[in-house]
Each structure stands twice: as C-alpha cells, then as structure tokens.
C-alpha cells in the first residue's frame, strides 16, 4: 500500500523531495503549489506521514528540552 500509494503520486513529488519540503515547512512558508503536492503525497504515503509526525514530535521534544 505504502509503495503503491507513493508510486501513484510519485510523478507529483517523491518521498525524497517530500521529506525535504516537510522539514522546510517547519521553518517558514513553502510555495502553495508545493504545499498542495505535499498534502496530496501525505494522503497516500504512510512512510512520509510517519516522517511528518516524527518531525512534529522532534519540535515538541525540543520545546520540552528547553523548558
């Protein structure tokens, strides 16, 4: 499912590019078309969905680290 899903939208954006953009989204705005492609990618791709959740978690963990 993961791989098939990723392949289906792979023409739009790869996991490699998605992972870069997901990180970039934490530091400022990404262009809207790119944002849409990421959101679409995340609907299908379990691996990147997990990656995105982990990036959010990392941010939360760093907030706790400094508190």
């Amino acid at each position: 499912m993961t791989r098939d899903g990723a392949t289906l939208v792979g023409r739009l954006i790869s996991c490699k590019d998605a992972s870069r953009a997901i990180s970039q989204m934490q530091d400022g705005n990404v262009p809207f078309p790119l944002y849409l492609r990421i959101r679409l990618h995340l609907i299908w791709c379990e691996a990147c969905k997990r990656f995105e959740q982990q990036m959010r978690f990392l941010h939360t963990a760093m907030r706790r680290y400094r508190q």
Partner: protein, 191 residues
C-alpha cells in the same frame, strides 16, 4: 525569596545552559565564560524575572543574547567557516532509492509523546545532539532552542536561506535516525 535562594536556583540550571552554549559555540572555555556572564546578568537583573515564564526559559533568553553576540564576534574568525561541507544535501540521499522512495521507511514510534516524561529520553536526545556536526548543531540549536527566526539566523551566520534549510534538514534527519536507533528501536518503546 532571598538573593541567595535566587542565586542557587539560577545556578541549578548551569549544566543545561552550558550544554546549550557548547553546542553552539564549540568552545568549552568560551561557553563557560558566556554562561558565567549569563548568570551574573541574571542576578543583576533579578527584578526582571516576573515568574510568568519558567526560570529556565528566562535564563535561556539571556543566554541567547550572549551567544548571538559571541557568534557575531566569532564569525569574523576564519576558523569558524567550513560551513560549506555541511550544506551538502546529498548526504542523506542514500536513504532513498533512485526513484526517490525510502530505502528504510521511518519506523513506527508508537506514541512518542509518552516518552517525554522520561528523563532518560532527554539523555539520549543530548547524546544525539552532541553527535551532530558542529555547524549543523549550532544552527539547529539557534532555531529550536534559542527560537531565532530563519532570517535572523541567516543574517547572524551570513548564510543563504537555502543553506539554512539544508542544514536544518540534515539536523532533523540525523536526529530522527539517532533517536530511532537509540531509543525507539529499543524493546518496549515505539512499536
């Protein structure tokens, strides 16, 4: 609270302040000086501490200014350069196959938030932060601990926003991998 109580409460955060300063300055002596300055400034400005934020957060705010000043002075020294090799985004390309799919997709971390109440988790986090390359750690700490905006970091370090994104991406990829290997993959955590 007496002055002595306040001083000893401030001092109890010395270890944390020092770890944060070392990660950004990569110079133990300088970091010691900066933390000392921070604690002195904190005692002198004790009235400025309203108690609305935690003492640790307040001290981190003072440390932030001291570190930015130190970095400003330091970036004029040639030894501080060598940022280029940490701006290569290709290093993590090995995690993906030729078509851009994950070679080893991120593992299931279960309910990671539940780990945040465990002190050992932050020991592993510190271990992972200490393993980052110098400039990568510096930039990541400026962003996530000092909470500087992207454009401020670019300005202080004289780097482009593309460089900044690449370095932060590298930091997050490395930390993600390190936490997965050293914490979440251990028995009983994550999956």
């Amino acid at each position: 609270m007496t002055e002595a109580d306040f001083a000893s409460r401030c001092n109890s955060h010395r270890g944390y302040l020092l770890r944060v300063a070392v990660l950004q300055l990569r110079d133990n002596d300088l970091a010691e000086d900066i933390v000392q300055d921070t604690l002195v400034a904190a005692l002198q400005g004790a009235q400025g501490f309203s108690g609305r934020s935690s003492l640790k957060t307040w001290l981190t705010g003072i440390l932030k200014h001291k570190i930015v000043d130190a970095i400003r002075r330091k970036t004029r020294e040639p030894a501080f350069a060598s940022l280029d090799e940490e701006c290569q985004i290709e290093d993590f390309d090995a995690l993906f196959d030729e078509s851009g799919h994950w070679e080893n997709p991120p593992a299931d971390w279960g309910d990671p938030e539940s780990q945040l109440s465990r002190a050992q988790f932050f020991d592993i986090m510190q271990f992972c932060l200490d393993k980052l390359p110098p400039n990568t750690a510096r930039v990541f700490m400026m962003r996530e601990v000092m909470e500087l905006e992207s454009n401020e970091i670019c300005k202080e370090l004289s780097i482009t926003s593309t460089n900044l994104w690449v370095i932060l991406y590298r930091a997050r990829m490395a930390l993600r991998q390190c936490l997965e290997q050293n914490w979440f993959a251990q028995a009983g955590r994550g999956t």
